[in-house]
């Protein structure tokens, strides 16, 4: 038995057992891709993101001129599908606090374009929070890291835990997460595949649970804390369709 145990231990070496000669890695629930844009990616002669990198979700059939231009400006940095690869990327890329203003990181599931036009996003919406830059410059890197870890660890959507059996596990609602830097604030967003309709109580509960997890476990605020203030918002959800409506048609966001 002792010999068997030893053979077994030798057959599986994680990065914790042997950081240079590990032979297994931890697969992620879904493969992911990191995208980036900033004023520096616009109008420069940079290598284009190959269209072959998102075969399942072609560009919208009639993209607006603006959308087409935007797709040329956004750069796919890398794809990855294991915990070990995520950290190799994280440890070799610059952090949100070091980005120029008007830059965005988009971490989306592989095959989903980080735009609301994508099939996976068009019926969905986003949780987001806006944070004033001066008070959060020292915190934004950790908040973004926590957001990415909840995304790749697939812990945002409680319905995945509550399922009663392997076969009743629903499809994850999360499609991607974004951090945006602007001259005076940061914004972090969680994009979902669906948004609650008028009388869709079940979806509303599921979406709200994601928002509460984002506010408390990921961002670290007490559930009851009010967050809005100068340049700051609550943690709020709007469907992409409602985000389009302005003025009298404007919809109130869900707030947690």
């Amino acid at each position: 038995v002792e010999v068997d145990m030893q053979a077994h231990a030798e057959s599986i070496r994680t990065v914790f057992n042997d950081p240079t000669n590990f032979n297994v890695k931890h697969p992620l629930y879904s493969p992911w891709a990191l995208w980036f844009d900033s004023p520096a990616t616009k109008g420069r002669n940079l290598p284009q993101t190959p269209m072959s990198s998102f075969p399942q979700t072609p560009l919208p059939q009639t993209p607006s001129v603006a959308a087409a231009g935007w797709m040329e400006d956004i750069k796919k940095v890398i794809g990855f599908d294991s915990v070990e690869e995520f950290w190799g990327l994280y440890n070799n890329i610059i952090k949100p606090s070091e980005l120029p203003p008007k830059a965005n990181y988009y971490l989306f599931k592989e095959g989903i374009i980080p735009a609301w036009e994508d099939e996976a996003n068009k019926n969905g919406g986003k949780w987001s929070i806006q944070l004033p830059k001066d008070k959060n410059r020292h915190k934004i890197d950790d908040l973004w890291l926590n957001t990415m870890l909840a995304a790749i660890g697939e812990t945002f959507d409680p319905a995945l835990t509550e399922a009663e059996s392997e076969d009743s596990v629903p499809r994850s609602l999360i499609t991607g997460v974004i951090v945006s830097t602007r001259p005076q604030f940061y914004r972090i967003s969680i994009w979902t595949r669906s948004a609650p309709g008028q009388d869709d109580e079940d979806m509303r509960k599921r979406i709200e649970a994601i928002g509460r997890h984002f506010k408390t476990a990921v961002l670290g605020y007490p559930e009851s804390q009010k967050l809005s203030g100068p340049l700051a918002t609550e943690v709020e959800f709007l469907s992409h369709k409602d985000s389009e409506k302005k003025g009298k048609q404007a919809k109130k966001p869900i707030v947690v």
Partner: protein, 90 residues
Amino acid sequence: SSTRNQPISQPLPSALATARIIEDLGSVSYPRGIKSPKVELNVNAKHGKFRYDRDFLMQFMKICKDKPDNLPPLDAIGLEPSEQGTGIPM
């Protein structure tokens, strides 16, 4: 110091590139002091579809430092650190 064990021009295939995917989390035993992924996140886990809590994931931060083979040079995609300093008022 300029002494190195391996010439930079001939990297070995990385362990990352050759490691295989864990198919059964239960088959892995971690060294003492390393936390396993939270069991309750994976009670319904399908083959290779695992969920990981933050405490588990954070343990990799100080270990997995190698630059991915397929990471493009960051300046080539316009991804460069900026001197933010005091920030520019709008």
